[in-house]
Symmetry: C4
Subunit: 230 residues, 4 copies
Amino acid sequence: MEALKQQVCAANLDLPRLGLVTHTWGNVSGIDRQTGLFVIKPSGVPYDALTPETMVVMDLEGNRVEGTLNPSSDTKTHLELYRAFPQIGGIVHTHSPYATAWAQAGRDIPCYGTTHADYFYGPVPCARMLTQAELDLDYEKSTGLVIAELFRERKLDPVAVPGALCRCHGPFAWGKDPAQAVYHASVLEECAKMAMWTLQLNPEAQPVPQYLLDKHYFRKHGPGAYYGQK
Amino acid sequence: MEALKQQVCAANLDLPRLGLVTHTWGNVSGIDRQTGLFVIKPSGVPYDALTPETMVVMDLEGNRVEGTLNPSSDTKTHLELYRAFPQIGGIVHTHSPYATAWAQAGRDIPCYGTTHADYFYGPVPCARMLTQAELDLDYEKSTGLVIAELFRERKLDPVAVPGALCRCHGPFAWGKDPAQAVYHASVLEECAKMAMWTLQLNPEAQPVPQYLLDKHYFRKHGPGAYYGQK
Amino acid sequence: MEALKQQVCAANLDLPRLGLVTHTWGNVSGIDRQTGLFVIKPSGVPYDALTPETMVVMDLEGNRVEGTLNPSSDTKTHLELYRAFPQIGGIVHTHSPYATAWAQAGRDIPCYGTTHADYFYGPVPCARMLTQAELDLDYEKSTGLVIAELFRERKLDPVAVPGALCRCHGPFAWGKDPAQAVYHASVLEECAKMAMWTLQLNPEAQPVPQYLLDKHYFRKHGPGAYYGQK
Amino acid sequence: MEALKQQVCAANLDLPRLGLVTHTWGNVSGIDRQTGLFVIKPSGVPYDALTPETMVVMDLEGNRVEGTLNPSSDTKTHLELYRAFPQIGGIVHTHSPYATAWAQAGRDIPCYGTTHADYFYGPVPCARMLTQAELDLDYEKSTGLVIAELFRERKLDPVAVPGALCRCHGPFAWGKDPAQAVYHASVLEECAKMAMWTLQLNPEAQPVPQYLLDKHYFRKHGPGAYYGQK
């Protein structure tokens, strides 16, 4: 658990370094699938005050198991995503501005190029708005459930599409561990930016053809991958 | 008063650090409601030359009570806002570029998402243009009066909507103290940016539904707030 | 002349610090009106290699009076502006991206707000394209002559409008000395940026009314000025 | 070969310094035309872990001649460009965001101004999309062949037009050596940015007239060049 706290703390500190957050507007968590416990940033604490000791440990029933600070106000969303997507090991939420603009516009981010195709196998989907009933019942829990519903209904694999937009809110991204979740959040922001500019230059721009999407995604993922060092 | 001078000086220094000002184009003030005196940046002095001793102390009749430098040329606007909004303790004016673009476009900034809803309970309103008569009489004083009129006519609570745009000019923001005023100025700029991009992606974008606005604003404000540490 | 060389060198070093140049794409000069000699950046030398000793001294007939390096390739443009505008003491040319985009679009930058009105008394004018004959005769000299023609034909005062755009090229700005010229170049870039965003938000945006332009400009300039410290 | 490794390593390190890459999304190579060997960045290695020793040496048949790491996944594209363009000595590939947006929009970057004309003699061309057959056969090799085809069909001189866009992918740029290739990549990005903004300000913007293109390009290139120090 100490190693995970260090990883989660380090991943949170990467958010301002990568330009993904303003003020305290972002949080990273990581889960230990063996114990079923996850570690998350405390709520509203500035990044430069974070240490592994300030991290909060939660179980998947939503109980604080360790730590004295309140966990991130988005904790229940993380929890529902860990439940819905057993393959993932880390989650990040930010209000990074380009991805948030797409979320506020209520649009999926189309896959316009290889930068996107290298990490997201298809568009970054935008979830529907919560109903008032869902929000009144439990806002943060419902946010996670609506993302899970989105992946279920569209038959998306959360490993192949490691992020989503929450309508009128902002992006969530995830990965096999906290560091990869943050990496995916930064890819998502960069692709959101370039997709917006692509549309400015060509409002009729088309997504990459399927064969290019397949090529780039599987060049980096799966048994035939040949990017990087083995 | 020395403590307030330090707070106001520190808040002014936050402006360049947060990327809210170019050159000397911004100023922060703070008020001591007990004595009715407020402290404000001197006019045209570069931020790196500011010290608590260079701050200017004014009374609400517009007399300089302490300090040898001229106060900010916007001093009368600050003064009128302190008179009109007795709940506030700090004010900031900048020409931060995204908020200024909305002011120059003469448009309210709609509340398109939760980033905005967390701090501004509804659109950031844009005040009307001053008439020539108002300007000739007293430009800076009239600027403050027109913002006060805007809040009166639209029945806005300056605590729930801690900022406004001056038509063809730029933003003013405020808060319970100088530090919070600067925080709100930076939120306003970030939301102005994301709202512009939202419109580029979806010219028909709609503001958040009322229930989402309520949820986010009251998650952080009022008796039921649960964001951050208590 | 040594003092002027230092001023011109320092002003050139301000260009990268203010984010106005990429690579070596900008140059500043300053003139000593008593001797009629002006000092200018050497051509193609990186900013971090500039020292006062590397500056080149020219007379207004275009002869190199001092220095061993070639002067900026834009030297003849500076020369013609010094001849046409005897009130000015420093000139800067950059390819700063927002101002250059307006120049490439072939449009004056309208005065949409007080940031602009504080320093430029009206739109930043865009000069016409050089004819092929003008270009073949002497490109850099003609560039200066076309700017001078623009101010003559539109009856503009180069002190009140301290800059212009060269069609398909980029901005020139000037001032009473090299430091003020650079300050005006940075104002021009900031206003070019905000004016572009203003148009995105409101394609029908109108320039500020004349009485607001007068107020802001004369608040900072002329006998009734009251901005800053005396 | 050691000198070339150092040059290639240094040129790779310039990519993040010039803001041209996010994460590991860019690579530079350089060729020794006498031996026919080229040096290229290893695949997926972070820039701050690069040293001359980690560089990979390849021959033009695609064999690794020196080095223990895998070469960049784009190596075959570099190889085909070295074969097709015998005049060039260095190549760079990035996903720099403005150039990538043009590539994703599938548009040539028009020459709207002198910044562009100083380095690219005409538009930056956008190559066609690879067919599925080309991609299946050999994606990276085909990418190089399609760029070569583009220059052949449009009768472009790769020295006068030192870069191109790969449809739905991003830019390649080149030069006489690795350092100049990186310089051209940064010019390409800056011009891509300004061209996008030019179109926002004037959707009917026209490229520079031929005589201005000639003037600027030949002011810096060829026997009559007079920019910089001899």
